[in-house]
Amino acid sequence: MARVLFKRRPTRLELSESRPVWPCRDFSVRPHRNHSYEHVASAASAWAAYGNYRLIWSDAPYDDTLALRLDGSPPDLELVWHDIEPIRSSPDIDVVAWLSSRIHALRDLSGSPILAAIVGLSPEEEVALRGLIGGLPGVRLAPVSDLLASVSKPFDPRFMKIAGSRLSEEANLALAKHLACRWIPALLLPRLKAVVVDLDHTIYPGVLAEDGPDVPLPADYSALQASLLKLKRSGIMLALVSKNTPEDVEALFSRRGDFALGRADFSAMEIGWGSKAESTLRVCQKMRIDPSSVLFIDDNPGELLEVAERLPCVSVMHAAQDAHATVEELEFYPGLWTWGTSAEDSLRSADLEAESARAGIRMRERDEWAYLRGLSPEMEVWPNSPQLMRRLHELSQKTNQFNLAIGRLSEVQVNRYIRSPEAFAVAIALRDRLSDSGVIGAMFGRLDGDVAVVEEWAISCRALGRGLEGMMAACALTAAAPRAPACRFHYRTGPRNAPALEWLAKLSGKKLTAEGCVMIPSTALPAVAEMPFRVIIHEDERL
């Protein structure tokens, strides 16, 4: 299926015949449209199935006015699917301002994520519209003008009457691919965290044990390495799992200055002759991530099968002999593309490297406080900061091990915590003398009388293992509810959040059930003033 989907130009017939034979997760889409989306939607279904999901589209009348009919239950996605050309015939309308006002109105009316895909805007108008709606929670404007500029013939007026849209078939298929492989997964699915690659016949077309470090590197494999490096720069960690000897691999990276990828680009490596499923698990442990957030790429179908069978949660991709095909699949692999790279994305790899140095200090220092002083940590806390809304959302969505209630809050919900006077949302950043971890903690809650109710408490796995969880909670609560004599933590048992539950059980001294809440006196948490490091608590931006 991937060979058809990621070839240079799949045909409508090939896409129609690519049907999933595996279960897919359903996402409901409510279009708000003035031209047809159906021919894009039918083509998108094949790419969506490749990403293990299916789009269920609700009926939508054609409406130039974007009247925003919100019948029925809330969808997983509101799609503004508009061709601006008919609107331009009204001389008094500023199309950018008008679109902005309609999308603001939709944001007010619906709590679902909104994707706007507007045909007919100039690149300048698209930039202007992005400026006007870019700060809205859960709203994204698809880069349609760039995409249509990249197809040879974006419009085909012959189809206007019969198809209800002036888009050409080439444009339909390009939009379908971007919609299903990039724009929708990046809005509705958690982003993958790492790509694990093999070496031989995967990132170069040769066998290291036979060819030595002078393995060939033709242009298509060079492009594949560059594509992997681009992913790394966008915050995806890279890891190596290869059946080779460690000495050969070290020699390869030290000798090959022409490789786009260097030894230091890999956050974890497992080189040896054992099972690749086990090696993949070990690199996940080293990267502190769950295997479900990994894409494994190998040229050997047997290895792919072994990993897929033993670790069904791992996504797998076959490295083709034609590396251009692998590049294309990688560029469009659902869950890799992102709407924007955050500061934390670029900090991730360096932070992970510092972790082994931290472990060394921990081994040497018997006293916990001496260990902390040795790291010279600094904690920075922002209560209710709209600027950090997307990072707070990311932490709620992506953290698995330390996520107490697994609320998986949408951007709209995060925004409510930030802006509602009775609620709070706190962001915590951490740095020490070894690395800057960026914003790694998110606490969401509300005040119930004088009790601080913590409805979601999430810490990035990168910040775990330093013994700072209690101090981070204390700092967050000091920032959000300084006078609360007690706090009530909500929790829910999930598939992978045992570390968070163990922390709460230890703190409260209580046995936790599957779901519930635990009351803790504020005095049970460490006092901020006595912490062996600097804490900066910013002012509440609502005040």
Partner: protein, 77 residues
């Protein structure tokens, strides 16, 4: 040049692929329930793609059966 029977079978295969239901060479919008206006457009997309033909607007509505489509694609572009 392909004979008309072979061409009709090819077009029937395209229509079947788009409609996701097996149809024969006698299929048309009148006798295949799933061949609605939306799928008709996609059949036209697929036929243009497969044979490198460019249909005009009048043809798009009129070519509503496997046989008429096969006849059209057998004509010069």
């Amino acid at each position: 040049m392909k004979d008309s029977d072979a061409l009709e079978l090819e077009v029937a295969r395209i229509v079947s692929g788009i409609l996701r239901v097996d149809v024969g060479v006698d299929a048309s919008r009148l006798n295949v329930p799933g061949w609605d206006s939306l799928r008709h457009v996609e059949i036209l997309f697929a036929v243009e793609e497969a044979y490198g033909v460019t249909l005009d607007e009048a043809e798009m509505a009129a070519l509503d059966s496997v046989k008429s489509l096969a006849r059209r694609v057998s004509m010069p572009r």
